[in-house]
Amino acid sequence: MGAVLVETNASPFEKTEVDAITVDIIENALSNAREEMDAVLFRTAMSPGIREQGDCFPMIANREGKMVVGQFGSFIRGFLDAYEGEIEDGDIILTNDPYMCNAAVSHLPDWLVLVPIFKDGRLIAWSAMFGHMSDNGGMVPGSIPISAENIFQEGIQIPPTKIYKKGVLQEEILELILHNVRTPEWNRFDLNALIASCRTASKRCVELAERFGDEVFDTTLSIMLDRNLIAMKAIIQMLVPEDEPCIFEDYICDDGVGMGPYKIKCKMWREGEKAIFDFAGTDPQAKSSVNFYVNEELFKMFFGSFTINLVDPQIVFNDGFYDLVDVRIPEGTLLKPTYPAALSGRTHALGRLFDVLGALLGQGAPDVLNAAGFSDSPHLFYSGYDDKGEWFQLFQIGFGGIPGRPVGDGPDGHSLWPGFTNVPNEFIEAYFPLRISAYETIPDSGGAGLHRGGNGLNVAYEFLCDGKIAIHDDRWLTYPWGVNGGKPGLRSTKQIMRADGSSEYLPSKCDGIEVKKGDVLHFNTWGGGGWGDPLQRDAELVLTDIRRSLVSVDGALAYGIVIEGSADDAPSLRVDAAATKALRAKMANERESILLFDRGGTIEEIKARCLEETHLPPPEAPSFPS
């Protein structure tokens, strides 16, 4: 069974000859349309999460549901298989249920809008957009309850549902949904914005088909898919070894309810022209909400988007190469949990997959290997009633250190996620009972290397009203690793300085924490790992970083650099050349070898030092019911 497509015009699409230049022109126009989708969304959305931070993802697919432009891959075929009903001109489908759309979205706060694009009675394409809503109901404000044990606790589940039927808004359904969330007006507006964005794409597709002809348009989309197929074929030959599989393991530090770390393991190899990614050996699913239900096609997309720039930076990236990649994820694991496992806290495993992927691809080619980076999007929630008795609910995404890379140092306090930006502090202070008393990078938090890892951020939130906070972060236990001799970056910490003079370290994942007026939370994110041998870094560059307050005088020792002069008088600082030479020689002598990956020790060693270094007890090794 599955969806039944209703087309009033039964004439089939004939493949036709399209010259290369017309393809290039349509390709260009479609990528403009995709950018316009973002622009429309940002201008009309209301919640800070979408409009300031850009937490949303657009797509245009061909009539078969293959993504032609976009970045998070197509899920339309999965949806079509799962949906029982007719699809007609004017329908707009809304869903947020990962289990009902083959994990097209991976947790409930992501609302996905899907629009079939019809022209003259025939389906010519699809547009889709999903965005992170401020709230989805459920146990906690922001709807990412750490301790949830099943998806029912995470708020309203919307199976694929027509929110517009033949062009008519299904108002009662909409009101039913909005009645279940804490921020109904934000969601209403954001949903409007998602729909406006998809409609824009629909309009552009219809215009293109009018300009060039429906047949040419349809054929061109196939050609664009083929271009990616050809490019990726070459890339796979280049990067994926046939004989010796690459294996990499990384971790998410804990599940927020006392167990961890959870292993993500992947083995990569090539059979003929096919690349295979096998996640056998990944830990079973967690009891709490840190599971990440991975759509295999989404992972293919990660792989492609990471590598395709190597051959044609201007190519409009799409999923034409999917048949070249085989992703195997065992059922019941952290990456493919069994229904109704909780999913809302999936961001850590999602981010970590990028580190895993980067490490796998870089093993055979250290020159293109990046260190471990800011592979997460940490969240802070702060909610309560302000002095006027009005409900407020803040959702903030954190930023941190981009890793050291072959092209150079990692930027400090930036985002790995496409399109994400921080929210201006003055904006936050104007609209929420908060004062930001520091917003600065943490010196030495970027791993030392020939190319330094970017620094993490220290954001000091002073709460001006009593309320509750929730924190979602990771890499507090395991390190953002360095590569090719580079050192790991500093890990994340969360410390709250109470107005009464006491202070405490908060776990990396917690919710329902009460805060009082005057309390200050230091939300410290982690730094990126270093790239290459720090002993080879130009001493003057290290000195400049010191003058720029990005590295400390003591921190310079990690590069084997000895500084003379007073730290209080930055211009007076000089590199002590003789002492530096001696120290570098000594360090080079004492180290055993240059590590491809420096993880800062084994899990056992890290756990043994845990309480002392992080002020938090180590998590227990996960135990899984067999």
Binding site: T44, R51, R227, S305, P418, L550, A570
Partner: protein, 688 residues
């Protein structure tokens, strides 16, 4: 007899236009720019004009000037060393910026951040805090500041100083306090403070804008002073120098030098103003402008002969909060390089450009790679033979050889490849025109399209076909259009402040008080320049949004409208505009974000300008017969001399109209008529 002089200093040429303010008679000159000291080129041009117009220099009362000096300082990274003072805890404000890595998924892998315009080693913190309500949370620690200023001064590196403190957009008292203390140490160093330069919410954008102001300020100040004194020496002390700002208004030399951040798009604004001048006189008040140069193309939308103004200005990687004519730029120009990636066999054009050096292959300056310009040569749009009307020495064979590399990679003929390159470049420019029209809710078919700049007239006809914007207008002297713009605009200034309030809580009397205060601020610079109060005209703007939106819309209004309708005026206008842009409006939730007063000086009206008008026949204008390639076929075409065309002439396509610094292509199936103003109006044949 009094004259005004328009001067546009571009990267390569300095254009001058002299207007007799009584008769409307014009004279123009083009001389090479002198980058080391641009005033040298300006004076040289003036001498040239004086020779041809034989007039007394003291008759020139007003010099109106567009300049790229601030733009170039930013683009080449050759501005001043800027020291920055932030609030304690925010010293990394520029380092972190908005945390944004450009590019898609994985874009961070290759992202290289540009050096900060105020380096961190010259950044210090002030221990103070202003609240989000504009009230002081913690006073300034003056002793600590003096110590840190001392250390900063000792570096000996600071050439300009910027102060940007958190929440100063609500209350600038701490910034003023810091400025006073800094002046003790840094006498003679220009200081820019953010509450003065751009009192708007968002600390990073405000800091960056104020820093950019400092970054270009010493250079601009020096330039303006040099030019002013050179002009005075040559023309007398009563000569008034005005400089065109990014928003298309003129500012006095003095006020421009204090706020050079407002000059970043002075160049393109001049082009847009010049285009408006000729289009409106031809009866076209709604136009799309299309200014194609060597490396990039600027487009803008003009409604009712008024350009849309954007609240930010972008130059290269730098974005500042400063009003500018809403010009969108795409990296496609005559010098854009075409290539074919080996695997995908796609034809790509740009963003790499051959620039002026080594330039297109056809220009014989060492360039070998095929460019858009070469494709134009291959297709016959740019006649290669001077005898055929080509103004420059052009090597057609070199162009063919270059384009053949692309043709071979694609497995198609040279002509087809050349046409492909031109089509793809046109598509990129079409994309930019869509951004300013369709994406803003405007139908381009309701506009005319005006092409200018070195390559604009070559591509304008094709862009007319893509957009459906007819007629396509090629104004007289498309290469000196900026100077026309400079000479025909008004002196203006503005003042704005953040005013965040729900519309329902806005009190009309309080609002009016704010507007009066803003008006006083805005007119102060004009009054200081000696303009009489009765010659000033004021208008207002309010930026609004639905509460929670990041996007804001600007509503223009004047006092009479406000008196008549009260705050209902804003709600109505906003809903109308929002519906046009996004197809919907909400019933409530209207929020005010910013208020602004714009004050300009009434100009004495200019008589109609007289441009060259030939009395000869169309036949007299023919230079030669040639061939062009279009739509897969070779067509016979005629080359005409623009200077020999006059009002009423109708040029049938395919044709090429040639003049000193520009070439216009009229495609098969189109005709071009010359209107009384001197514009070439290109239209499809059947609509004639």
């Amino acid at each position: 007899m009094s004259y005004r002089l328009g001067v546009d200093v571009g990267g390569t040429f300095t254009d001058l236009l002299l207007i007799n303010e009584e008769t409307g008679e014009t004279h123009s000159a083009k001389v090479p720019s002198t980058p080391a000291d641009p005033s040298v080129g300006v004076l040289l041009g003036i001498e040239r004009l004086v020779e041809t117009a034989s007039l007394d220099l003291s008759n020139i009362d007003r010099v109106m000037h567009g300049t790229t000096i601030a733009t170039n300082a930013v683009l080449t990274g050759k501005g001043s060393k800027v020291g920055l003072i932030t609030t304690k805890g925010f010293k990394h404000i520029l380092q972190v910026a908005r945390s944004f890595c450009p590019g898609g998924l994985g874009g961070w892998v290759s992202y290289v951040k540009k050096p900060l315009l105020a380096p961190l080693e010259l950044t210090i913190e002030a221990d103070e805090r202003m609240g989000a309500d504009g009230k002081v949370v913690a006073g300034l620690d003056e002793d600590a500041l003096r110590r840190d200023l001392d250390a900063l001064h000792k570096t000996g590196e600071v050439e300009a100083l910027t102060i940007c403190l958190v929440n100063s957009y609500l209350n600038g008292i701490h910034e003023q306090q810091v400025q006073k203390i800094a002046a003790e140490k840094f006498s003679g160093v220009p200081v820019s403070i953010s509450s003065d330069v751009v009192p708007e919410m968002q600390e990073y954008e405000r800091a960056e804008t104020t820093v950019v102001n400092s970054y270009v300020r010493p250079e601009v100040e020096k330039y303006v002073t040099n030019l002013e004194s050179a002009l005075e020496k040559r023309m007398g002390a009563d000569t008034q120098l005005s400089i065109l700002r990014s928003d298309g208004g003129l500012a006095s030399g003095r006020s421009a030098a204090e706020r050079p951040v407002n000059l970043l798009l002075s160049g393109p604004a001049g082009g847009v103003s010049g285009a408006i001048y000729f289009c409106s006189r031809g009866g076209y008040d709604n136009v799309l402008t299309f200014d194609m140069g060597g490396t990039s193309t600027d487009v803008a939308l003009i409604q009712n002969s008024t350009p849309r103004i954007r609240r930010e200005t972008r130059v290269g990687d730098v974005t500042v909060r400063s009003p500018s004519v809403d010009v969108r730029t795409v990296g496609a120009g005559g010098g854009s390089i075409a290539f074919v990636p080996e695997l995908t066999k796609a034809l790509r054009v740009g963003p790499e450009s051959a620039g002026a050096e080594p330039g297109p292959a056809a220009y014989m300056k060492g360039g070998k790679l095929p460019t858009v310009c070469d494709a134009n040569v291959v297709l016959g749009y740019l006649p290669s033979d001077v005898q055929l009307g080509g103004a420059m020495q052009i090597d057609k064979e070199a162009a063919v050889t270059a384009v053949k590399t692309v043709a071979d990679a694609l497995g198609i003929g040279v002509m087809e490849a050349a046409e492909g390159i031109v089509k793809i470049a046109n598509e990129a420019m079409f994309g930019a025109l869509r951004v300013v029209s369709v994406e803003q809710g405007f139908d381009p078919r309701e506009f005319a399209l005006v092409g200018f700049g070195g390559a604009g007239p070559l591509h304008a006809n094709a862009l007319g076909t893509l957009t459906g914007a007819w007629p396509v207008i090629i104004p007289p002297g498309p290469g000196v259009l900026c100077a026309y713009g400079d000479a025909t605009t008004r002196i203006q200034d503005e003042a704005s402040r953040t005013y965040v309030k729900m519309m329902k809580n806005v009190s009309l009397p309080a609002l009016k008080e704010e507007l009066v205060a803003l008006q006083e601020r805005a007119e102060s610079s004009l009054l200081a320049d000696g303009i009489a109060r009765e010659d000033l005209v004021v208008s207002y703007q309010m930026d609004m949004r639905y509460v929670g939106q990041a996007f804001q819309l600007t509503i223009d209004f004047d006092k009479a409208e406000l008196d008549a309708k009260g705050t209902a005026l804003f709600v109505e206008s906003f809903d109308e505009e929002h519906t046009r842009l996004f197809t919907f409006a909400l019933e409530d939730g209207h929020e005010v974000v910013m208020l602004r007063a714009i004050v300009y000086a009434k100009n004495a009206p200019l008589p109609e300008l007289k441009v060259v008008d030939s009395a000869g026949s169309l036949n007299d204008a023919k230079i030669a017969e040639t061939e062009i390639f279009y739509n897969g076929k070779t067509h016979k075409a005629t080359i005409y001399a623009r200077g020999a065309l006059g009002s009423g002439h109708v040029v049938p396509g395919p044709a090429i109209v040639n003049e000193m610094d520009s070439t216009t292509v009229i495609l098969p199936g189109h005709i071009a008529s010359v209107d009384p103003v001197g514009n070439l109006l290109i239209k499809p044949e059947e609509t004639h």
